[in-house]
Symmetry: C2
Subunit: 461 residues, 2 copies
Amino acid sequence: MSPPLDAVRQYLQDHADRNVGDLCEFLKIPSISADSKYRGDVRRAAEWVRDQLAACGCDVELVETAGHPIVFGSICQQPNAPTVLVYGHYDVQPPDPLDKWQTPPFEPDIRDGHVYARGATDDKGQMLTHVKSVQAWKNAVGDLPVNVKFVIEGEEEVGSNNLEIFLEEQRDRCSCDIAVVSDTAQYGPGIPAITYGLRGIVACEVTLTGPRQDLHSGVFGGSIANPVNALCSLIGKLVDDEGLIQIPGFYDDVLPLTDEERQAFDELPFNEQDYLGNLGMSAVFGETGYTTLERRWARPTCDVNGIIGGYTGEGPKTIVPSFATAKISCRLVPNQDAEQVVQSLEQFLRDNCLPGLELSFTSWHGCEAVLCDTSSSHMAAAQAAIETAFGKAPVMIREGGSIPVVATFKKVLNVDTLLLGWGQNTDNLHSPNEKFSLEAFHQGTLASACLWHELVQHHSL
Amino acid sequence: MSPPLDAVRQYLQDHADRNVGDLCEFLKIPSISADSKYRGDVRRAAEWVRDQLAACGCDVELVETAGHPIVFGSICQQPNAPTVLVYGHYDVQPPDPLDKWQTPPFEPDIRDGHVYARGATDDKGQMLTHVKSVQAWKNAVGDLPVNVKFVIEGEEEVGSNNLEIFLEEQRDRCSCDIAVVSDTAQYGPGIPAITYGLRGIVACEVTLTGPRQDLHSGVFGGSIANPVNALCSLIGKLVDDEGLIQIPGFYDDVLPLTDEERQAFDELPFNEQDYLGNLGMSAVFGETGYTTLERRWARPTCDVNGIIGGYTGEGPKTIVPSFATAKISCRLVPNQDAEQVVQSLEQFLRDNCLPGLELSFTSWHGCEAVLCDTSSSHMAAAQAAIETAFGKAPVMIREGGSIPVVATFKKVLNVDTLLLGWGQNTDNLHSPNEKFSLEAFHQGTLASACLWHELVQHHSL
């Protein structure tokens, strides 16, 4: 390590307890963005972040939005160094069901080397690592080697409705070379990872309406299209028994996995029996010709998320239902166009609908998949930083879920994002007893501190 | 007409008002079998029927069952004449929603030539025609030309759970040459009909269970079978786009319509545009090669009656649901074996289920289709009776619904049933403002009186 980084490392070691204390203070604020009765607490969390950033020497502002405020902070004193935008969120999921928590969700409890609280890993704990690394550089060295901007929002758990507006409006202020987000996970315990790909998503609802009321299935059955049968038939046609999606053109733009990626995925530890055991299922199923990791991370899907129609109470009721409705979503992979997929899906449904029924279709705002350049200097810097902090080179993984902000950064700011997750998938995100390993908290903070250093090193190469 | 029948007709004319008065008295009793708080009223209705039959000179008994009592009455004084078993029910559907009734459901109101009340046509009014015709013969002539037995139950609206037990136990007491049921309808206003065929039914519920809880569709989607997609796929495979059911062997035993039947159906007045207009639909759909009446009356079906799975609230929720469940019923046609159909259906579902899912299947008691001999002397007697009473020969129709008691009479007593409906499909059965035409009530009573006469005439032929 370079001498300044040594000083930073020493500072972090010396202030480890204080950092944990600050994290616990932050976790005590019930900043539940979904519930308006916590509006005051949400603002209090924003102010807490503002004050932390100010204490690091950042210029800070609470930017008002139509919803909860965005904390914008910056420390930009290196005109020749790269500029990093750190994104995170200070809001948390509702803690329900409360009776499943071993200790109260907003009274952080430290046990077994973890802090237990709502938001511990998602995202207060992970986000704070970057604040604490900036603070360490500032206090131990006097200045940062890079320029850092913070965009910490309070609406991630309710759809980030005002973030894109903010970025569009303050594009210049947010300009940067690379974004950093710590809101994913390591691949597993002791296996640090960088996530370089995300799936996108489109979601819609389709309703088939037949007779204006439920009909007697004896008197009328057989003479008109049954909306439930017809909807099932449509959905049945969407995916064949080999797991291939049948919408014309659906795979046309799909970027195939490279041989290198497939080999790298194959080399990751993955036990299918354990995977199934955790889910309580007896077999995997998916697109023919792909492994389970490939299916989850890099192949598109077409899943029904919910369906309802007709009589769903106890016992039989012999009716032809009046209508049926289903929610359908597709996970997208790189190069697929979200809008195009929604259009093809709607067209497929209309083309295959039985006569006499009315089809209505609505879709929600989607987002496209993300694939980051794994050969960039930023990526190399992140790999080096993680190897230093965790003592092990990160594995390069993709993730099946979607983080819309990453596509937004690409679109609005034209930058890639480094997805650096310090948590674990078993940290009970969105569930009772959410936790975050204190070791990961400290390692993540150190990795962040190293990242500022490495970005400069790799920038000048 | 023969002189005795002339006397009966005269008697019925003279006592028309009294008969309507008795009907209204009967309709005032809220004999709602589904609701235990009306248990006393249900019994009161049974006693009312008992007293009516006793007043006609019948031997009567209230036979206790595990549920509501069965009224058994008989007047058997003609050892050489045929014996008729009249079946009907004194219980009624619940009257909800009460606020949709123009006049209260148990305060019979006469307007526009109809009596409005719950049970007016289903089945108090229709059933009473046979009691009143016996009374007319008894009082006007002194004796009946045939032997008549009445089996009037109080549980038709809740599944007739104790009727078959009663018939099995009292098989000898119920022995007869022909059964008569007036619980169907005329083909239309001014078009009296005899229903000679009924569809049967089987009903089941199938549930597919996947992961032990709903999963994140990003993290897991694509790697396991989605229970909703899989259930839709199964259901989609049950019926093809030509309306043909794909269960192996499903049509093997189906008795085809004869050319004569198809021609007779074609000659019935039927306006498809009116039919669709009433349903609020834009097109018919059904098995290729059959007309709408044929599809409704004489071809089997496979209808989903209800389906549910996953998230069905507002907006999107991107999950892979844990399970999905559907209720499926098949209407059966003559010669199909209900048990065999259920077995084939279950086998088809199991054979086509995606890997990794658990399939559970339950079925409810079904009943087979009925086809009565249209060339029997009893049928000829009924045709003649209706022609005399209504001034018009009845059309011969089938019905798409199921009346399990008809199959039970065939099985237990080995007799056909004459389905002689005096009501109309527009009489609001099971709906608010149920009604029964007084003209149909009088015509039906006369037709019943004529039937006793004609059965003897055709018996001796």
